[in-house]
Symmetry: C2
Subunit: 753 residues, 2 copies
């Protein structure tokens, strides 16, 4: 294997482009489409920002939200930057210790930092637009439902397009810069730092934002609705702006960073698998994931443009039309990519279709569990009749039921795409395992091929939520409120659906990322053995994670416990941060009795500032836990005697006549795999349970089981409050955790041997 030095690496692009082959063209096309995606985002942003920003009163509220959100983001990214730099230094140090990893120290750290910056930028710009789109949407809602939907969706599309375009451009340029055209089989491994950087920022963005948003929400509700007896979004509540800020920093910025890291991590994983298939597809197999994202950008842009709504139509219908347009274009593009890049192996196209079908089924199942038309939500609403305890019991039971159907879907998708992969690559001279895993990677690509549109729909949620809040707070007439309520309901649905999509993609991508890790370990072992002049069995690969071995089982146990402990810490963080708000609001009411009388304004900024500090403090411990546990397990188990190993040492890589000790790598693999399984189930429990509680409350508010202000409604409010940190803090953070585990193990892999 070629050892890179930074100087030799940088700008090897020039000679590469000088000998441009047709395969290399794919990268340039993808990059060009990436730039087009950024331009489309810019145009959407301009069209949204150009529209009217409403009354002075509305602007005052919107400004307060914007200031709060920007203040939070500044501080949050400040904190994250410090953490990222510390980790970069430690990473550099860790890689530099051993002479065998030292050559990769610089490239890994550089791609880590670039990934981190892109992830942060993706989250930030998305939010930048959404906190400006909210008021335009509110203003548009005063005259036209169609314009309001378009304003919110295009605002969301800015996030969606930037996220995908940045992942594409970032990975593409790094691939070029690290000499990918010269060493296409090796450079993908150098990109793991990019995925790790993206995941790390995403975890903290999602976790910090999630803590912020729910601490503000729970705090505002408890002290406003419950204690003071004033309605939601009442301007007398000092925490109300903090609450509206939360929607942006949690949902927008958090989910943006989440999908950015999905896109980045899964693309890197798929490129690594493409590198393993180099004998079959050449450079095209490595570039395929980037081309899929180019297709994604075009399909999603057209999809967003296609959304028009009649004035009396359900907003979801209009949004779904755009989704269908996007999906259709994505399928066509995918077929073309398979034809031109993967030699028209239609079984592999079938994998892509499987991925899209999985995504669709996840959405349907999520709807079943979170919409009030179906049994689960209605059962929670009915249980509210006997008080909060039965509401909670029923909601938890629904939450624990929710993973069953999606897991069956994922199981079928994994098995089928594995099988399709083997069929599609029947003639290739590689192991069946590699063929099958590549099939699951293609399925993941299929699932991600409409990611930008999905993310636009997701960001639609907080924008309409904010628009509703602005309308509510600026005393607009009832007819306009009805319009924003409709938008808000659609936004709640899209938010729930995207979470289903995010978990689904995490589950389907799991194998792709595991395999990338196993490939990476094989690579490191080969390197080691070659350097020490040891024995390397022909065709050996690290493809065994034996759960029947005690250290591996312990790794698995720790992976599962990590998910439980992380969830606990995230939820406790919300509780603690909410206490600070509650105290502040109580103090403000006490200091200034004019607030409740409506004669003087509360100090919104104080609440925002307090919850900002609290959220950022609280995100550090759970975040570090996720980073440190795999490192500790890998390092500790690495030093376990091979006596713990199960296998008789036959035909394994040897150095100085001793088998290479894979205990650490294997235990970490189990931690990753069982952590992923537990994480997926727990995330579904929390997302869907929380969504079901929320909608059970809304169902009662619609007049069922006694309606608003009945005892059943009070009970349902308790359930909704419990569900909040589930569905908006712990659940979404678990998606990121799963992928962060994958990328951190990829990056740390060389240290486990």
């Amino acid at each position: 294997m070629h050892h890179f030095s930074l100087a030799a690496l940088w700008w090897q692009t020039a000679p590469a482009t000088a000998t441009l082959s047709s395969d290399q063209l794919y990268l340039w096309i993808a990059l060009a489409i990436g730039v087009f995606g950024l331009l489309a985002a810019l145009l959407f942003a301009r069209s949204v920002l150009a529209s009217d920003a409403g009354t002075r009163e509305m602007q005052a509220i919107s400004d307060a939200i914007r200031e709060g959100a920007e203040a939070f983001m500044r501080r949050q990214y400040g904190t994250i930057a410090v953490l990222a730099i510390v980790i970069a230094i430690l990473l550099y140090g860790g890689y530099s210790i051993s002479p065998r990893t030292a050559p990769y120290a610089a490239v890994t750290v550089i791609s880590f930092l670039i990934g981190a910056v892109c992830s942060g930028f993706a989250g930030y710009t998305g939010m930048y637009v959404s906190i400006r789109a909210n008021i335009r949407t509110a203003n548009a809602a005063r005259t036209s439902l169609n314009r309001a939907i378009q304003s919110a969706l295009r605002g969301g599309a800015v996030t969606g397009l930037i996220v995908v375009a940045l992942a594409l451009i970032g990975l593409g340029l790094l691939f070029l810069a690290f000499g990918g055209f010269h060493h296409p089989q090796e450079v993908p491994y150098r990109l793991v730092g990019f995925g790790f950087g993206a995941s790390l920022v995403a975890l903290f963005a999602q976790l910090g934002g999630g803590i912020y948003t729910k601490a503000a929400d729970v705090g505002a509700d408890l002290v406003g609705k419950v204690e003071a007896g004033i309605p939601e979004d009442d301007p007398r509540n000092p925490a109300v702006i903090a609450d509206l800020v939360g929607d942006n920093v949690g949902d927008c910025a958090g989910r943006g960073a989440d999908i950015f890291e999905s896109t980045a991590a899964e693309s890197v994983g798929a490129m690594i698998l493409g590198a393993a298939l180099y004998p079959v597809f050449g450079l095209k197999g490595v570039l395929f994931p980037l081309v899929v994202h180019a297709i994604n950008l075009i399909a999603s842009t057209v999809g967003v443009m296609a959304v028009h709504s009649k004035e009396n139509e359900e907003p979801m219908h209009a949004l779904n039309r755009g989704y269908y347009v996007t999906s259709l274009l994505a399928i066509l593009g995918f077929a073309a990519a398979v034809y031109f890049m993967l030699g028209g192996r239609w079984w592999l196209f079938g994998c892509g279709i499987l991925g899209m079908a999985t995504s669709y089924l996840f959405v349907v199942i999520t709807e079943y569990y979170t919409e009030s038309r179906y049994r689960p939500v209605q059962s929670i609403a009915r249980a509210s009749l006997t008080g909060p305890a039965t509401n909670i019991i029923s909601g938890l039971a629904v939450g624990m039921e929710t993973p069953a159907a999606p897991v069956l879907v994922i199981s079928a998708a994994l098995l089928l795409s594995y099988y399709f992969g083997i069929r599609g690559l029947e003639d290739a001279q590689i192991a069946n395992y590699a063929k099958g895993i590549y099939g699951t990677a293609i399925a993941t690509m299929g699932m991600l091929s409409s990611a930008a549109y999905i993310l636009a729909m997701d960001t639609f949620g907080p924008i309409t939520d904010n628009a509703g809040g602005i309308i509510e707070m600026s005393n607009q007439p009832e007819s306009i409120r009805e319009r924003t309520d409709k938008l808000d309901a659609a936004g709640n649905t899209t938010k729930a659906l995207t979470k289903g999509y995010a978990v689904g993609s995490a589950a389907l991508a799991a194998f792709l990322l595991f395999s990338a890790y196993l490939e990476e370990i094989r690579n490191v072992v080969m390197d080691r053995v070659a350097a020490a002049g040891g024995y390397m069995p022909a065709g050996w690969s690290f493809d065994n994670v034996n759960l029947a071995s005690v250290p591996v089982f312990v790794g698995a146990l720790l992976g599962a416990v990590l998910v439980f402990l992380f969830s606990s810490l995230a939820i406790q963080a919300v509780g603690r941060a909410a206490q600070y708000i509650i105290q502040d609001v109580r103090e403000q009411f006490k200091e200034n009795p004019g607030i409740m009388l409506g004669t003087s304004k509360p100090d919104y900024g104080r609440c925002v500032s307090i919850v900002t500090k609290a959220a950022l403090r609280e995100m550090v411990v759970p975040g570090l836990l996720v980073i440190l546990l795999p490192l500790v397990v890998g390092e500790v188990f690495r030093h376990f005697s091979t006596a713990f190993g199960v296998h008789a040492a036959t035909n394994v890589p040897m150095i100085h006549d001793m088998p290479v000790n894979l205990s650490g790598a294997e235990a970490v693999a189990a931690l990753l795999m069982v952590g992923t399984i537990t994480g997926i189930l727990m995330a579904m429990l929390m997302n869907n349970g929380g969504g079901a509680w929320d909608n059970a409350k809304k169902f009662i508010e619609s007049g069922q089981f006694g309606g608003k202000r009945s005892e059943a409604h009070k009970a349902a409010v308790v359930g909704d409050t419990v569900g909040d940190p589930f569905k908006d803090t712990a659940g979404p953070s678990l998606h990121v955790l799963i992928k962060l585990l994958a990328t951190i193990t990829l990056v740390l892999a060389p240290l486990f041997l």
Copy 2:
């Protein structure tokens, strides 16, 4: 391998005993001590029953409880008997299909039925005594704390001793009957049916009892305390007797069956591993688990006898003294058994000590999370100040935190006992893996060596709970109530501790049971290959469960989802059954207004009968799910093409030049292992979360955070109600589920190939 026929098998004991060797003597000694255990139980029962049964009023209440409990048990065991017979027939059919398993059909079904009957008998007799000990304890409490403690503990000891003695005698006699002295390496595999029978009955006993007890409890509380505003255990509440009945059928009978199946399943597993070590220890290694249970019986009997309390002492102190006496004797006995039977390999004694230490640490950790002296319970109590929502959030967060410390303890115990096993068997000519796993088996034996005393302490709980209820309902003076309240508090603690112990033993035993399954598969494969004249690599063993293979990963995913779905179904069952009670109580209040005035008596029997029917109906679906899923996964994946397999087929068992297809067996192994991991974590979440909620409520009732009838108290009552089905239905049923998964996979193993 020798093929048994029933006729040849039955009563091979006689020739065996004719040539009694010193090794065989151990079995006879163990059996004799088993009989002694039964006698000791009889004496304890007589001493409890001989004491005075209190006033006529008290007896009326006690009679009502007894009648309700007996009616439930009759119907429950009727339902279970039908299910068991159906399963026995299917099992016989399944084994008979293939000519290779047919010879074992009869023995497997016979040991299944005997195991089932013993398990049922263990649960029933334990409850028989406890529903008679409750009133004697109540009466004793009128004069002396010491006599009350002794009465409750000895009543509990009847369950503890019978459970362990029956497991010992049942397994010992089957071993004899199946010709164990002639074929000591093969007969342990024939005993798996016994473990399965025990687990099956235990699951339904625990699940049905758990649903009953919590449906009655939740129903009685909601309609009594919340709706009608009358205190707990108020005789005007028609559901109050059903509630008291529930304590017996859920806690006593359920836990009795639970520990019976732990003892049985883990002993069978350890005997199978002992058989694998036959070259080292001979017959003694196979009999060792039975001898440990003999020690357990003696140590626990002495421990129970040693409990005396001063009148002003905390009851827990007296109970702990008995525990220390038992532990000390168990250590001495264990040392003697290691010296005489395992050739004084003191590293193995170390394994036993590790097991005892694990048990102790689990108890300490459980105390930390469930006692009001410590942070977790206090944090829940404090969160109650801001209402039920924060109480629930805080309780769930505590619940999700609880598995972390126990998992670290279990990880250390597994790794250390594995290491000790390798050291202790350094000179033996077997694979390190077998040595290490035997170490974990010895550790499990160590943990179980005080099981009878632990179970006595556990059953102490419902007896004192009932005694408190009887005192409450029969209008005794305040001073006596204070005494029973003290007893009741101690009972709550012992119940929580035993649950910690039960999860701990399930976790530590996991490896023992996995390995028994892997051994069983190896055995079946060898059989197959021999019969077909195929190729069997020397020293081959089935010791690889490769999580990196897609079908295996899917098996793992399904194992985890099983735990979630089962918990959901169990909790939903409680909710539905509780609705029936609530309706009936409401109707009774409406039909007969004299009930609330205290002028006429409610119809207790109607409530008991309604909840009985509901609980039994509700237990069937979740129970069948656990039985069917491993069967379906094994059968479906068995037919998966070997193309899914990861391994190049080198040096594996072959029949007709095709590798033996292990896909089904491997996927089931993953289901078992990851199901176990998830089950352990979920059980801890539920048991400890539920216990913490309960004690947070009690902490507030003791005057903290506003005391009884404050808003915080109301919030805490909500948490307590949510925790009820967690800690008394789903959590304990999950212990049983984990072990049932292990025994059912053992029994079905031949069908997966």
